[in-house]
Amino acid sequence: MSETIHPLHRFFRPSVTSTTNCPGCGNGIVVQAILQAIDDLGMDLDDFIFVTGIGCAAWIPSPLFNADVLHTTHGRPIAFALGIKMGLPGKKVMVTSGDGDLAAIGGNHLIHNARRNVEMVVICLNNSIYGMTGGQAGPTTPMGLKTTSTPYGTYESPFDISQLVIAAGASFVARWTTFHPRQLTASIKKAIQKKGFSFIEVITQCPVQFGKKTGAGSAVQMMREYKERAISVKEAAKLSEEERAKRIVVGELLDKAKPEMVEEIEKIKKIAARETP
């Protein structure tokens, strides 16, 4: 019997034979989108250093991708990634982590590196919940939702992470859902090629901790909801703020050229060398 092997399987670390993801998790869709983007660009995993934080989304490349992977402390992957980019400016640095890791405990590093506009790709899997620890509310959980840490409903407004990163000074920002794998792949390709801080928010389902506990349902039900609520940037512009708040605005939210930090540092080194007695 001939064995059929997935064309992206060659990117997997040979020692990894199982997944830690729950059934229905959106991680797998993002794994495929990342690897497809790299493959489409004709690149190799050795062109990348992957950096992750703590939480389910941080396990996407760790240990799955057969590449250099630094699995860091909670909230800090972008800060580690900055040091890696400084040391290996010729390599692509990609961070994958969750909304809790990047926007709660690690929010400061997110905005400051967007401000620095240091070249890296940050993929934020936003499931609106703390999945690994059992479904606690986070800074992205919708107002009023009952979770394990908000049994009577949340009483805080959530972040719009993409808008936060835009305001902080990034070069490229896109938002998709797990219902949009092809669009997501296309945006990841652009992000990899972008000279600057690129941020991609992926609205993703956690059927186990979010779906069950909040009544959002199964993975299929949640993705069906993403399909129904998703609206393009262009169409969303026609809606009132109130109407827009009910939808998930998807697409490329920002793509602009601005000074990139690694290049700016090279200029500084030249100035310093010139001024050295």
Binding site: S15, S62, D68, T72, A79, G83, G87, G90, A272, A273
Partner: protein
């Protein structure tokens, strides 16, 4: 690059400046930090000097990201450092544990100041001595050196880089506001007279599946990034290949013990002390700036005919227990001098008490460095 790494010459130099020069002489290529009194001059000097030699200084958003960035850069093969004071170390501790856990060479300078909490920034108080060893969670070993002069701020920083590279571990330089801000003669030698070492890395082209990059008590070659080693680096419990294991307690036991043994096995190479207690009945044990007062007090006591010696700890972690015992076996009385309420005293006492009377003497006012006359008074009391 046109700047020189080693500014050979004789200078009247501030301790913090000498520390930065030591780092650059040792081959530091990247530093990251956040301004804090009384350590800021180190960052300022590195910000000026590193770009001159092709390096980078990053001013970060906080100390958490400072240590994170240098660990990341160390994994690209760079020699790295950060400098801060107690409040900054408190913020760094989680990631210092990370650096220990994934065996990352880096140098952390703590110019200690008046504490606890925000304390008194310009006061020199060695209040973070145990924090360096036990501040991050879990069992681990660390290396820490205690300079007592601007010259040693240079020398010990070079040494700290060498230890970091040799043993793939974070190394502390535990200075304080006195030594950091002190100005004295600093001699920077010729480059060829400064010994520098670089970590072992796997052979180019090594099969990634066969690289044992972790948990070797004789220090594994570091599978740095960008060389095709496909390193999986996780601070979670892992084996020698870097493979995560979150279920077997034997794997955890192996992880904890090997990390610690890596340092303890090489303790003899790491521990440095200065001893001058031949024939002494009373021995003053101290470290850092206080050792200067101890040396003076010993001179005064000997003039009075009291046989007083000194033992100065240069390496405080791993703890030089064997050196303490060796000294205590020859002494009648041991006086421990620290510019705090007795941080290393319990450790020293545990080693010395079976053989000698051990007492503790803080300065009359914390942060003031002992008056040699006050030490002399204590010596006279003990002698009776």
């Amino acid at each position: 690059m046109s700047g020189k790494r080693v500014l050979t010459g004789k200078y009247f130099m501030m301790g913090n400046t000498a520390c930065a020069e030591g780092a650059i002489a040792a081959g530091c290529e990247l530093a990251a930090g956040y301004p804090i009194t009384p350590a800021t001059e180190i960052a300022n000097r590195l910000a000026e000097r590193l770009p001159q030699v092709g390096g980078v200084f990053l001013q970060m958003e906080d100390e958490i990201s400072s240590i994170a960035a240098i660990i990341g850069a160390s994994w690209t093969g760079k020699k790295v450092m950060t400098a801060t004071s107690g409040p900054g170390i408190s913020l760094m501790l989680e990631n210092i544990g990370f650096a220990v856990g994934v065996e990352t060479p880096c140098v952390i300078v703590n110019v200690q100041r008046g504490a606890p909490t925000t304390g008194m920034p310009t006061a020199g108080v060695t209040g973070d001595m145990v924090q360096a060893k036990r501040g991050s969670h879990g069992d681990y070993e660390i290396i820490a050196l205690c300079p007592a002069s601007p010259q040693e701020m240079f020398d010990h920083t070079v040494l700290a880089f060498n230890y970091a590279e040799n043993y793939r571990t974070p190394v502390f330089v535990l200075s304080d506001a006195f030594v950091g801000h002190m100005r004295e003669e600093v001699v920077i030698p010729e480059p060829e007279r400064i010994q520098t070492v670089y970590r072992k890395i796997p052979e180019a082209g090594a099969d990634p599946r066969k690289i044992k990059g972790f948990l070797d008590e004789d220090v594994a070659a570091m599978p740095i990034f960008g060389r095709g080693f496909k390193a999986h680096v996780t601070s979670s419990c892992h084996n020698e290949y870097g493979q995560r294991n979150l279920s077997d307690l034997e794997a955890l036991d192996n992880f904890v013990r090997r990390l610690s043994n890596k340092i303890l096995k090489h303790k003899d190479e790491i521990v440095l002390v200065e001893k001058d207690y031949e024939g002494a009945e009373i021995v003053l044990v101290s470290y850092g700036a206080v050792s200067r007062a101890a040396a003076m007090a010993a001179v005064l006591a000997r003039k009075e005919g009291i046989p007083v010696g000194t033992l100065r700890l240069i390496t405080v972690w791993p703890f030089p227990g064997e050196e303490i015992e060796k000294m205590a076996r020859k002494a009648k009385n041991v006086i421990v001098l620290e510019n705090n309420l007795g941080q290393l005293f319990p450790y020293i006492k545990a080693e010395a008490a079976p053989y000698a009377e051990v007492s503790f003497q803080p300065p009359s006012i914390i942060g003031q460095i002992h008056d040699p006359e006050a030490i002399l008074k204590k010596i006279r009391e003990v002698e009776k």
